[in-house]
């Protein structure tokens, strides 16, 4: 197979950036999309041109490092698939493919296709955990967790933090990422003690960095782990409730 790649090149955050066109020849349909970029990069280095910088690591769809807008779609055309797991058999021979970095105000471009997603870490720092110091845990089976609850928590916890949800969203919102972490923890009995403070703090930190959700559902369609936007609804419910509960917990509420 052969392809024409139009790839976004940007020397640094301050650079304006532009598209460059490259030919990718002798591509096998067994190759992954990132392997095509590897081959293009080897060609560029041979020609004395700087290779395309892109984030990647595990190449098995779990570390969340990679993420490209491929023909305008976050992670490309295959549902439930991260860029590294996308294989060339999903494309038409001879196709022109446009490759861009994540486009979102909260994810500034670092170089070429590399973006800064540290805003996600800030959201987790705001409460995406259960506060339990090492050593203070009780015997694990003391606390039965209904299978359905555990499964639902796992559905949410499957998020790999790649940022496709934000990149796909017309508002650049991070509701799916945030809701997935909040609901993973809020669903579990272990997560109840901090449920309301967690929800309020994480949602409000999210809003410092990201746009607002208007339920386009693009996030769910782009998510490589197909995380349901139901979790956003649960998060919104918990957020509304948190506003009253948190006041009550601190003794400032109207109803005791």
């Amino acid at each position: 197979m052969k392809f024409t790649l139009k790839v976004w090149r940007q020397a640094g955050p301050a650079d304006k950036g532009h598209f460059e066109t490259y030919d990718a020849e002798n591509v096998s349909d067994e190759m992954s999309f990132l392997e095509v970029l590897d081959v293009v990069n080897e060609d560029l280095i041979r020609d004395g041109k700087e290779p395309i910088q892109f984030d990647h690591d595990c190449r098995e769809g779990i570390c969340g490092s990679c993420g490209l807008m491929i023909n305008g779609q976050a992670h490309g055309p295959q549902r439930g698939t991260a860029t590294c797991q996308l294989h060339m058999r999903k494309f038409q021979d001879g196709e022109t493919i446009v490759v861009e970095p994540w486009r979102a105000a909260a994810f500034p471009v670092v170089r070429d296709l590399v973006v800064n997603r540290s805003a996600f870490d800030r959201i987790v720092e705001a409460g995406g955990y259960i506060s339990v110091n090492t050593g203070s845990a009780v015997e694990a089976n003391m606390l039965p967790v209904p299978k359905a609850v555990s499964d639902a928590a796992m559905d949410a916890a499957a998020c790999i933090g790649c940022g496709a949800c934000v990149a796909a969203c017309p508002n650049g919102a991070a509701q799916l990422f945030t809701a997935a972490k909040i609901q993973h923890l809020n669903l579990l009995p272990q997560g109840q003690a901090e449920r309301w403070s967690r929800t309020e703090n994480m949602v409000e930190t999210m809003e410092e960095y990201f746009g607002s959700c208007t339920m386009h559902r693009e996030c769910e369609a782009a998510c490589p782990k197909v995380i349901s936007i139901d979790f956003i609804s649960y998060m919104n419910r918990d957020y509304v409730k948190a506003k009253t509960v948190n006041r009550n917990l601190t003794g400032q509420g109207l109803s005791q």
């Binding site: 067994e30 690591d57 797991q85 294989h87 997603r117 339990v132 845990a137 923890l185």
Partner: protein, 641 residues
Amino acid sequence: MTPVTLDSHIPDGPIAEKWESHRFNMRLVNPANKRRFEVIVVGTGLAGASAAATMAELGYRVKVFTFHDSPRRAHSIAAQGGINAAKNYQNDGDSHFRLFYDTVKGGDFRSREANVYRLAQVSVDIIDQCVAQGVPFAREYGGMLENRSFGGVQVSRTFYARGQTGQQLLLGAYQALMRQVSLGNVELHPRTEMLDLVTVDGRATGVVVRDLITGEITSHSGHAVVLATGGYGNVYYLSTNAKKSNATAAWRAHKKGALFANACYTQIHPTCIPASDEFQSKLTLMSESLRNDGRIWVPKDPEDTRPADQIPEDDRDYYLERQYPSFGNLVPRDVASRAAKRQVDTGRGVGPKKNGVYLDFAEAIARLGHDVIEERYGNLFEMYERITGEDPYRMPMRIYPATHYTMGGLWVDYNLMSNVPGLFVLGEANFSDHGANRLGASALMQGLADGYFILPYTIGDYLAGLLGQPAVPTSHEAFVEAQRGVEDQVRQFLSIGGNRSPDDFHRELGKIVWDKIGMERDRAGLEQALRDIPALKQEFYRDLRVLGTGDTVNDSLEKAARVADFFELAELMARDALHREESCGGHFRVEHQYEDGEAKRDDENFSYVGAWEWTGPDTPQVLHKEELEFEHVHLATRSYR
């Protein structure tokens, strides 16, 4: 350099009481004094993140470095199958002693008894801690934790979260770490790579790092340095490791005096997707847990070209079940890998390149139903289909062994401290617990044991001795010199101006290592490797091409430094493999096997840890031996028949 002494510091007393009494005997640092100590942690996988979080909870000031953009991306995240713990929830006869015994036996009697026993003891605490953090382990309908079994054992002690156990455990540790970041107890440096260890008067006092965005090279000092930087499987180029996993931090520590032990013990995982073309950038593992329900076979006739589902039972050879009736498809990884290699080598391989064997779920699907199999392995089946374009619910998977884990690593004592005082090494980066072969679901256990429950105690004993001493300032000559060395190396890579990319060299190196120091080794091949590797290394320093500059994101520059270290490490692997005239676990010397092809150990002459001391770039490392003593496990030929 101070002369090397190898003292494992194993506490006295009965094996079951060693850790307990050691914890009592170690010195403590009182809470007010803990904040006077600064500890550097490099790496944020299971071991690094759990250690950093726990030390910060205790009150130490912690600085954390990772080359990833977020700590959550460390390669522990890719572990699929599960984590072992001797909870005996299944009432099937598990115990501390059985987990200990299985691990020592699985490691082919080349690990330290006291370390492994402690690992088995703390395994149960790990599960408690992780559940409390909200790790969504698989549950029974009654709400209790579920277990499955793994290779090399006959009990069900593996806890799991679908096929994403590593991810969920790492997120637990990452979240605990981020909580400490938000509390101001941890200073986090993402996209920052350690490029040298700094020692003053023989003690580890800090690190030199490079900011991967700006290229800035800086020094950081601490009272102790903790390396949790993973294994060196990528020396093979093609492996199941993440692309950026590398040995650089550990290797630079080795060059600063830390001994590197058992470099030849590498693990080839039996169930990976076979390579499909020459552009392949990495190999993908299919969890060993699949061997619980999948049956491995090849056609009896090498010429058989029928699709798998049209080959009748009588024409199939379920060779593991035939050769190892008591463990069947659940033999340990090294045994399963070599058995697959033999099938492919004798022409019975399957698939377009005849480079795999079948892993068949037809019987399990008929017995348990499609839904149960989907529940257990759904995400693995999807991953397989995405990569190969084949549906494993209808067609058997094709699998073949690939490099997966390295048991060797920096030498550490019972306290996880290397021979360099103040340098602690955790997780896959150390050599300690798995002997010559690691059992499935034990890497996660070891990483978290080291980080949550062992280092936080043992580091206190070291730091207590430094009370009142400030950390060595980064203006010290040792820091200045180390930093200059790193800057020089960056300049060197950028200025060679040759023709070949770092990846090009890495691929060629990987092929040598796979062919000569892979699943089977022999004297002639190893000697050849010891000629080929230095020759290629010379070529590397003559013909390397790294474009661009050092003051921005430059992937080639990062790779160049890692490949440079892989050359030296590969040489050590060959030297270690050559000197170890026996077969054990992942180290299989063709000259040392029984008539049936099983590994032939030599306990009389090789029952020791081979720890190598760096003596300079132009002289081979010097071997130091730590004799292994077995008081509780009877040394026997491993049999899984």
